[in-house]
Subunit: 278 residues, 2 copies
């Protein structure tokens, strides 16, 4: 059974007046819990704090969240921890309370379903989604609770052989996967979509960019078309729970799992992203 | 005190695993409760049903919602009723459960704050918001729980003298108010923004368009620029609770409350939109 704490107290429910429910007025983080600790916790906290700042409410203290994660994990060494922070309860209407009391919802989830998806030793199969991702620079980069785009994109396929779907912005540029960021290798450079207009700035995306730079691999955040994806020398997707999944197929097109991908996988393993060893 | 029913039972809370909270995966309706009945209930139900169809889960039966609204209103003749329908609970991850059990949350709110805003006999004051509204044709028209754009736009001002703010899409076209639809009169035609890419198809918007057509006023859904707004002969905003608010000012610019607006107000009153008599 999953264990949840609401504002520090074991609870399975939140008030119906919570603005997270009413208006998607909040943020979340999904964190790999490894060896009794949250992995890359500082970077998850950085994104959460930036989100709270941009949405305009107080971010819970790191120490509070950490102790609540430990309480929720309750001695389990490995799994997934989820933190939701909402603007708290309020009266009906979009106008936020003058002095919001943000609500913390912290849960431990034993089953790390994402990591257990059929990835295969030879890389995953990817598809393109028809559902576009909403463009809005004021929300771009954040992991907000307003995630219907991703829900609808993920509902486009049931085939368990397809591990992820790529989403495009209204302008047709490729932005991300439904639950991941995407990278490609072209002319030995590591390219990933620019996220100033839409998309979530994944923590593992940041780890990969930093790791690549440490390895001397040139990286850039750019606009990428569907053609750029299909003509890439190497292609992979990342998130905090799966680490890095090389892409072997997108539709009928096959991709090689090349040296940049395998070099990054090894370096990520050394940083504790043991999922890359699969 | 507000009264809420969750799946028909008096309850103040929903499970933390509800996808409405996790991902904004649901819809809502805010309905004027007048003379012990929901006003324009059929049209609220039509939009809710279309939303459920497009999001891909079963819409609750009209009869069920009606009896739950009556139970929540508990003998109060007037007020506001809110219906939230989510995809229900599910495991972590965007992928929806194969057989979702949609959750109904029905509440009665005594204080109709929107209608009590300082509208003044001479029309409201409007502003333009900086926060753009997200564009996504797959969600356009629906009143989903993913409403962070509106929350951030509404947070741009505290001045109680400003009743509403207009939002523009990424292309700069004017789409709607934070909680209302917008109409203008130009060359004796009644124009309102086309909502195929973003915005909510308000029930009162539909009432106004239908009423105008019955009165022989030519109407059209078109692309409107900020200049179109500022050069309008008449300007007003609408929603299910406020009815129709004439606009007297936008920034320093003053608008006349002209004959089309006053004619529509009278016709709306005759249809039970008594707020227009203020």
């Amino acid at each position: 059974m999953d264990i949840w704490l609401v504002d520090g107290n074991p609870a399975g429910a939140v008030p119906v007046t919570d603005r997270g429910l009413s208006y998607g007025d909040g943020l979340f983080e999904t964190i790999a819990w490894r060896d009794n600790r949250p992995r890359f916790f500082d970077w998850h906290m950085e994104r959460l704090a930036e989100g709270c700042r941009r949405l305009g409410f107080r971010c819970p203290a790191e120490k509070t969240l950490l102790s609540e994660m430990e309480a929720a994990a309750a001695g389990h060494a490995d799994g997934t921890v989820k933190i939701i922070v909402t603007r708290g309860s309020g009266p009906r209407g979009y106008a936020a309370p003058r002095a919001p009391q943000p609500r913390r919802i912290v849960g431990y989830v034993r089953n790390t379903d994402a990591a257990s998806s059929a990835t295969g030793a030879g890389g995953i199969t990817l598809r393109f989604c028809r559902t576009p991702i909403s463009a809005n620079p004021v929300l771009a980069g954040l992991k907000t609770l307003s995630r219907l785009d991703q829900v609808l994109a993920r509902s486009e396929w049931q085939d368990p052989g397809i591990a992820e779907g790529l989403m495009q912005g209204p302008d047709g540029k490729v932005v991300c996967g439904t639950m991941s960021n995407v990278f490609l290798v072209k002319d030995r450079r590591l390219l990933t979509p620019d996220l100033t207009v839409c998309g979530v700035r994944g923590v593992m995306r940041r780890v990969v960019i930093e790791t690549a730079q440490q390895l001397g691999i040139e990286t850039a955040e750019v606009q990428l078309s569907r053609h750029d994806i299909m003509s890439a020398a190497e292609l992979f997707v990342t998130n905090a729970l799966i680490g890095l999944w090389p892409v072997a197929h997108c539709g009928r097109h096959a991709f090689e799992i090349g040296t940049v991908t395998t070099t990054l996988c090894r370096a990520l393993q050394a940083r504790g992203v043991t999922e890359c060893a699969r």
